[in-house]
Amino acid sequence: MMITEIGHYALVLALGLAFIQSVLPVWGAKTGDGRLMAVAEPVALATLGLVALSFAALTVAYVRSDFSLVNVFENSHSAKPMIFKISGVWGNHEGSMLLWVLILVLFSALVAIFGGRLPQTLRATVLSVQGWVTAAFLLFILMTSNPFNRMIPAPFEGQDLNPILQDIGLAIHPPLLYVGYVGVSIAFSFAIAALIEGRIDAAWARWVRPWTLAAWIFLTLGIAMGSYWAYYELGWGGWWFWDPVENASFMPWLAATALLHSAIVMEKRDALKIWTVLLAILAFSLSLLGTFLVRSGVLTSVHAFATDPTRGVFILAILVIFVGGSLALYAWRAPMLKPGGIFAPVSREGALVLNNVFLSAACATVFVGTLYPLALESVTGEKISVGAPFFNLTFVPLMIPALIAIPFGPLLAWKRADLAGVAERLAAAALAALAATAVTLWLSGATGILAALAVGLAFWLIVGSLTEPVQRAARGGGGVGPFLRRFFGLPRAAFGTALGHLGMGLTVLGIAGASGYDHERITSVVPGERIEIAGYDLTFEGSTPRQGPNFREEVARFAVTRDGLAIAEMAPTKRFYPARQMPTTEAAILTRGFSQLYVSLGDPGADGRTVVRAQFKPMVTLIWLGCVMMALGGCLSLADRRLRVGAPRPARRAEAVA
């Protein structure tokens, strides 16, 4: 069909425009030629239009089940439900790379649209750097991963999408994650532009922070969504496996979190400039590394759609050129950036530096744990696996002091602070933490000291992060009315900080509950038999077959009762997708408060018994609700007047700092 050729052609045109965007604006910025610089915005917008057209063409091919496209044939099926036909566009290597580039050019276009207040040379240079990344990935798609390749003759039916991916999660998780991954490119482009210009100031940080914050919000949600998806889809009830592809998304998140905090210091105090630039480069480098790990086929996972060596080599080349090039540029130009002010170790700046030190060190341990097996295998041929025990002994100990320090941060004053005074203000949080630990120990019969301490840490974080806004609003007295008025009159950024940190506390609470106090029973049952778990009774009522659109399934029904009262029915299933000859397990999940009851089926056991895994996971939903809360905090910060893109602001004098 014609639309496919138009889409293919649009992609080639977009590559041409990306080359123009890569060269002309930055050349104009160097030579002071305003006309060359002015090329950047229209070209960025046109590139977006072309890539969007190309993406639309591929989507149409999926919707119409046009199996003359190799990509559609390999990953779709005419009987597949419409939602999965659409999300299936990025449920494969080629399509997901096209989505990656679409989001990249979308971000470039957003800079072009909202960048009106940026100095023209900075805007032109930033867009040129975006152009380099766009050109590299468009070249990659067109040369090694073209989704528009045809096959003749066209087959009658497709091979269907991997059934694990036929889930609403595929419609949500990759786009969220990609917006996060790719959004970090803006911070990178700003960093490179600052290095090229040899100039950087607080205004630069004020620009970079909202972009980083936006990317971070999506990254947080994307990772949380991926975690929840794996939790309900894979049928093991695990929510984080320290799998290399998970780490690949987690490392940019850690770097972006550090960047978010160091950019505050740079914006407010004009300090940590050189470090912030380095973090921006590292954060995007880790995004590229993640893309390489996931898409090159060096790892075997559900994310590695195809293993084609030329693709791996191509992405590795992109990785080496961008990371190597930007670090070389950094080594050459960073000394020219004027270092900022210095501050006392005990101060808001000091706390944010501490945050950065711990996050970077923790990120480095994840980096080592993820890449060491690959490095060892390529050097010695020895195959090893690095799993949860490694990360529990490296990442976790490094994060604990960082988490303990969180409530102190927002209470400390800039420049020089009074640590004893701050500690006094955190008395309530400390009491809450102690009480929570004691109550948890008492309720659990003094088992699991570590998990009880983790619960205490969670309450320290939750109460500690509320301390700052509450005490700030309480200052001045006057009863409840004025308090509430002052409380809701606080700047949104203050709520953003509090919610972000509170979300972290909720996530820690969820982790403590789900990993410290979970119950699991694996058993086999016949109809009428009962499974008891954590005070719930699950009575197996039998199973019946059912026919789905492109699968058939065996549905097992369980009646759930507690203290003799019927609560609900749970129906885990075992599915079979004939197109791929592949079975999947669909767990049944019952949410009770913040806790969940999780039931999944195994293979039929001996004598026709049904093997069942029943789990009770206390507080487990808080893991993801905490992430949503963190993202909400990010949104509130983004909505703060000071950060609103394009909001008029008075000229700011750089404060002289001793």
Partner: protein, 155 residues
């Protein structure tokens, strides 16, 4: 505090955190990594009994047997040697006889591998890389044999 002292504190703290991170990583790399071994290497007792290892190979045809309520026995082969495995729990969806599998656990003194983790493929199109590599090493690998399997048009 002078400017120099402040800088020293900063560098000191950063250095201390980085040192402890390095220490943690090195000690964890010493104790917490799991080596991948083939059934042949286990059969030749190249691995001390009781050490945690990953073993990968093919699930031997006709070897899967349910012995208890949730206990499963099967044998894993790299075509040169065969190791019996016991596992209690739910097998992954794509666990099948004649297919690649990776198990993690410990070899008992009786030569039976007690697995606490069984991993199969995410997708029927490829097998775990470790298994493919060890089969290649045994000379039982046909290039492209697995890639061309699906794809019959007009099902």
């Amino acid at each position: 505090m002078t400017r120099k002292q402040r800088r020293l504190v900063l560098i000191g703290v950063a250095g201390a955190v980085l040192m402890s991170a390095t220490g943690l990583v090195l000690s964890a790399l010493n104790d917490q990594i799991v080596f991948f071994r083939t059934p042949t290497e286990l059969a030749e007792r190249q691995v001390p009994v009781g050490d945690r290892v990953r073993m990968g190979g093919l699930v031997a045809e006709g070897s899967v047997e349910r012995t208890g309520e949730t206990e499963v026995r099967f044998t894993v082969t790299d075509t040169a040697s065969t190791i019996p495995v016991t596992y209690t729990g739910i097998l992954p969806d794509l666990f099948r006889e004649g297919q690649g599998v990776v198990t993690e656990g410990r070899l008992g003194p009786d030569g039976v591998f007690v697995a606490d983790t069984v991993l199969a493929k995410h997708d029927e199109n490829y097998m775990p890389k470790e298994v493919a590599d060890s089969l290649k090493a045994q000379g039982h690998w046909q290039e492209g044999a697995e890639a061309g399997a699906p794809g019959a048009a007009g099902q």
